[in-house]
Every structure is written in C-alpha cells, then in structure tokens.
C-alpha cells in the first residue's frame, strides 16, 4: 500500500498544498515565485472575469446534467434489453468513449465550419451559421459536444444497473396490469436511483474538469464566451504567465470540487436510507 500512497501524496495531494502556497505569490513561471500576500486573492475575487468564469462553469454543470442524465438513462436502459443487433449497436454507441477530447474537438470544429462544414450538406443556411464564433451559441454548442462525448459513458453505467433489476418485478407488475410507461417510472427509475447518484456525482465533478475539449474547440472565445473556470486558470497561468493568480483559481476549483462531492455523498446516503425505508 505504501507505494500507492506515496505516489498519490506526492503527485496529487501535496501539489494541492503547493497550489495554495503559490496562490500567495507572484510568479511568471520563469523566475522564482515571490511572496505577495493576499494580493492575488484580492484581485481575483474583485475581478468580474472570475465570476463570469464561475457562471459559465455553473451553466455547463447544470445544462450538462439536464441533457446527459435523461439521455443516458434512456439509452442505458434500452441497450440493457435484448434487442436484435444490440451488441453491434452498443459497440457503436460507445465509440466516443475511446476518442480523445482533442480528436473530438477537431472533428466537430471541421463539422461545424460555417463555410465547408456539414451544415451545407442539407442546403439550409440556418444550419451553416458560425456556431462556434457566436457569442450567443458557442457555449451551448460546447455543451452539446461534451454531451456527445460523455453520454456513452453514463449510458454504460445505466446499462449495467438496469441489467441488475430482477425481471420478476416486471412480471409481477404486468400481472397487476401496469403499462409500460408505468413500469418505467415505478420500477426502472426507482431501481436506478443509486446509479443516478453515482453517475451524477461523476458527471458534476467531471464538469469541473472539462478543459481540453473547450480549449481545442474555442480557446475560450469568442471573447470570453466559453472561458470556463479550468480554462480561465490555464489561460491566466500559462498564456498570460501569471501563475500566482492562476493558483487562486486552482484552489477555488478544488474547493468547489470537494464541496460538490461531499454534498452529493451526503445526499446519496440520504437517498439510500429513504429507499430502504420505502422498501422499494
């Protein structure tokens, strides 16, 4: 166990402490960091850009959840069944799982190109808008591309969970005359509750880490339209060579991540208790 602990401490936990330390320095990445007290914190916390990045991140978290969870549940439950071609379909469904964010972003960038992209195939000028260059739409396009990337993974979790629901429950409800909609809402969804919590936790904490796909798709632009928190941290740190200020953003990122994870764990414990009491 010691080697794992040592590696984990050295490259995951201790860096967090160092990040906190660096957040009190001014550092350009080349010369030595210089202590400057709470100056970075003051400037970050009074900068509207920080709140803009937080607001974008919040939108990404909420919209991603709203899009990905229902889709993943439906797809997961569907492919848990025994349809013909299911194995083939499932293999194809999960293709995005194996693609790197960089590959996906580059593919979608070409696909959405206003002049030569796929919008032209259908001859509708509405479709060949400059989606990624639009202040209004860029963030939503990014969120949809992210959904394309991550729905397969969450479908996978729901597929596994749906397979574990005993078939006898459905047979019993059929005898009671429950329709299929009724079965879905009264049996499938409640039985998936724990998985919904697990998947949502991974999804929401994961939302804090979307970096590469946005970086390659838009670089945070146009303007600041897609400059979510992790990207803001990277651009502040490595493009603007202000690693002290970027460390403040890193610390904020960790705090939010841990807070969300703890909150969701509480919630999931609570959920499990109530589901036991109801006897499902």
């Amino acid at each position: 166990m010691l080697p794992a602990l040592a590696m984990f401490l050295a490259f995951a936990i201790i860096p967090l402490v160092i990040a906190l330390g660096l957040s009190f320095t001014s550092w350009d990445g080349l010369t030595a960091p210089e202590f400057n007290g709470i100056a970075n914190w003051v400037s970050r916390l009074t900068d509207p850009l920080t709140y803009h990045a937080l607001w974008l991140t919040f939108q990404v978290i909420v919209l991603s959840w709203l899009i990905q969870t229902p889709m993943s549940v439906l797809i997961g439950v569907f492919i848990a069944g025994k349809q013909r071609y299911r194995a083939v379909l499932a293999a194809l469904y999960f293709l995005p799982l194996i693609m790197s964010s960089a590959a996906i972003a580059i593919a979608f960038k070409a696909l959405l190109d206003p002049n030569y992209g796929v919008g032209h195939a259908f001859g509708l000028s509405v479709l060949s808008r400059d989606w990624l260059g639009s202040q209004t739409y860029a963030l939503y396009v990014v969120i949809l591309v992210i959904a394309w990337q991550f729905i397969p993974f969450h479908s996978l979790l729901y597929q596994a969970a749906a397979r574990q629901i005993p078939g006898s429950l459905y047979e019993a409800s059929q005898i009671d005359g429950a329709g299929r909609m009724r079965q879905f809402f009264s049996i499938t969804l409640p039985m998936l509750r724990n998985t919904i919590v697990t998947s949502s936790t991974l999804m929401i904490v994961g939302s804090l880490t979307y970096f590469d796909i946005v970086y390659v798709l838009t670089q945070g632009g146009p303007g600041y339209a897609t400059r979510i928190l992790p990207l803001d941290m990277y651009l502040t740190g490595f493009s603007a060579s202000d690693l002290g200020n970027a460390s403040v953003l890193a610390v904020i990122l960790v705090i939010i991540g841990l807070a969300i994870a703890l909150a969701l764990t509480r919630l999931s414990g609570f959920n499990r208790m109530t589901s036991d009491q109801e006897g499902a």
């Binding site: 936990i13 439950v77 194996i98 079965q183 991540g257």
Partner: protein, 303 residues
C-alpha cells in the same frame, strides 16, 4: 426524486415521436410482442446516427483530396478518394508522437496496476484504522480536479529537473489513476471468499504467497479492466502533456493533433487523417477488449 421529474419531458417527447407508447425501457425485458423491438429499433437508429455522423464525416473528409474539400458536398463520399493526407501525416513525425504515447501509456498502466493491486489487497485484508483512513483519502481523490494540480506540478517537476520529459507526464498520470483503480480492485477483491484465504493460511502461506497464488489469478479480469480503462485515459490525456512537456519530440498524440491542426490549418483533410490515425490503435484495443472494459467499469462504478 429530482431526476424523476427531469425524466418525464424527454420520455414524453419520445412517446410523441414514436408510433406506439412503448418505453424502450422494458421492451427487452419481457420478450413478448415483436412490434416493440421495432419501436426500440427506430429510436436506436436515430441515436446511432447522432454518434456515427461525425465519425463518418471525419473518415470521408480524410480521404478527400485537399482541393476538392472546398467544393464537395460535405456528406457525399469523395469522387476520387485518396490516401495522400495519411501519407502526409505519417511523414510529419506521427511515428514519434505515437511512440511517446505508447511509452507514457504502458509505463503508467504497468506501475499503476502493480501499485494499486498491493494497495487494494492491503485495504481489503487489513483491519487497521490507518488503512481505512488511507482508503478514504484515495476515494476523496476521485473528487480532485486534475486541472487544479497542473500549476504546482509544473513548479515541482521544473525544480527537480523533470520538466519536458516523458516521466513528467507519467508520474502524475499514475497518481490520478490510483483512486479509481483502487476503488475497482477493492470492490473486486472483497468478493473473494474469506475461506479461501483461511485455508491457504492454514497450509502455511504467507502474505506474498496469498497475493501471488490467490488474489492475482482471481482478480485477473478486474486487472484487465482497470488496465484498459487507465490506458484509455492516459492515451487520450491532453492537459498534463500540454503543461509538462514542450519539445516537439516529447509530444504525445493528442497534442500532436493539436499541433497538426495549426500546421495544416488550411488542409482539413490532413488534420482529420491525423484524427483517424490517432484513433486506430485504441479502436483495435476497444474492439478486442470491449466486453472486459464494460464488465469491469460497471463492477466498479455501478455498485
């Protein structure tokens, strides 16, 4: 509860668009009634199109001649398919990036697997409070955004002279693979019946013998799963190599794609050919090991 409410609009929308009000949900479960599979099939094909359209677009564009790119119908197969773009990419140092990715991925996976197997074994077999604590710490690691550590890693690795080496990418990659790997292995090893341990103990087996002759053979499938999963993560990693390496000959594939995109900015077919090439090796692995990956992932996270 919340999710139930969010479920309904989509489910309703689906019902509206499909001829029979059959939730695909249970259609497979009770295997009566052929028309249900048809309904489910229609929905399945629609989602399939959503997934495959971008993939199809990438492949056909990558075999389009560069000049034809600007005049073609984006979804029609090219009139004169060509592999020129692929040759161009292969000549632009693709082999170096590929080798780097391979080194980084293999070394991360091998070290992670060994280290985590030992840790998971200790966690399952030990009753010590400290060990529990360490396990909780690992689980907490699942919630730490990797992004938050790149600046300090940049600082530390720079100080110890590892900046711009492949090791600079490997070491943190291992650290961030540990939580999920330990979680999956612990869940798996826990299911090995205690009697097996006891009977081997009675026969005089020590900890290492137990680990080598009992745990290792029995957890082979879980080990395969975490290895595949970690390999996927590391192979596709972007941020760590972006921040921790600099030289062209230390770049890994996802970064190379990013570079190609700049370098071939007006040559979209070449950029997309690079995308396809970067996918091929992992696609082969995926096709060979999909079942294993799916089984293990769900064992770990589906709880």
């Amino acid at each position: 509860m919340v999710s139930v409410q969010n479920e309904s609009p989509v489910a309703t929308a689906r019902r509206a668009t499909t001829p029979t009000p059959t939730p695909t949900a249970v259609s497979g479960r009770s295997r009566n009634g052929k028309h249900r599979n048809v309904v489910g099939g229609v929905a399945a094909w629609i989602w399939l199109a959503v997934v495959l359209l971008p993939v199809y677009y990438v492949v056909i564009t990558s075999i389009t001649q560069q000049g034809a790119y600007y005049t073609r119908n984006p979804l029609a197969p090219p009139a004169k398919p060509t592999l020129d773009s692929y040759l161009l990419v292969l000549k632009s140092g693709f082999g170096v990036y590929f080798t780097n990715s391979l080194i980084v991925t293999l070394s991360t996976v091998v070290v992670t697997t060994i280290v985590c197997l030992l840790a998971a074994y200790a966690i399952v077999r030990s009753r010590k409070k400290l060990v529990r604590g360490v396990y909780s710490l690992f689980l907490l690691g699942l919630a730490i955004p990797l992004q938050a550590t790149v600046i300090p890693l940049f600082y530390v690795l720079g100080r110890v002279g590892l900046y711009d080496t492949l090791a600079a990418v490997v070491l943190p990659s291992i650290a961030f693979a540990i939580p999920i790997t330990v979680l999956i292995l612990v869940n798996f090893i826990r299911d090995i019946p205690g009697e097996l341990f006891e009977s081997m103990r009675v026969d005089g087996a020590g900890q290492w013998t137990l680990l080598w002759n009992l745990v290792l053979p029995l957890s082979r499938s879980a080990l395969a799963t975490v290895s595949i999963y970690n390999a996927l993560q590391v192979w596709n990693g972007f941020l760590l190599p972006l921040v921790l390496t600099q030289s062209d000959n230390r770049r890994v594939l996802p970064l190379a794609l990013w570079n190609f995109q700049g370098q071939f900015s007006i040559n979209v077919p070449a950029t997309l050919a690079a995308v396809v090439l970067s996918l091929l090796p992992i696609l082969v692995l995926y096709l060979l090991a999909r079942r294993q990956l799916v089984a293990g992932l769900t064992a770990g996270a589906g709880r």
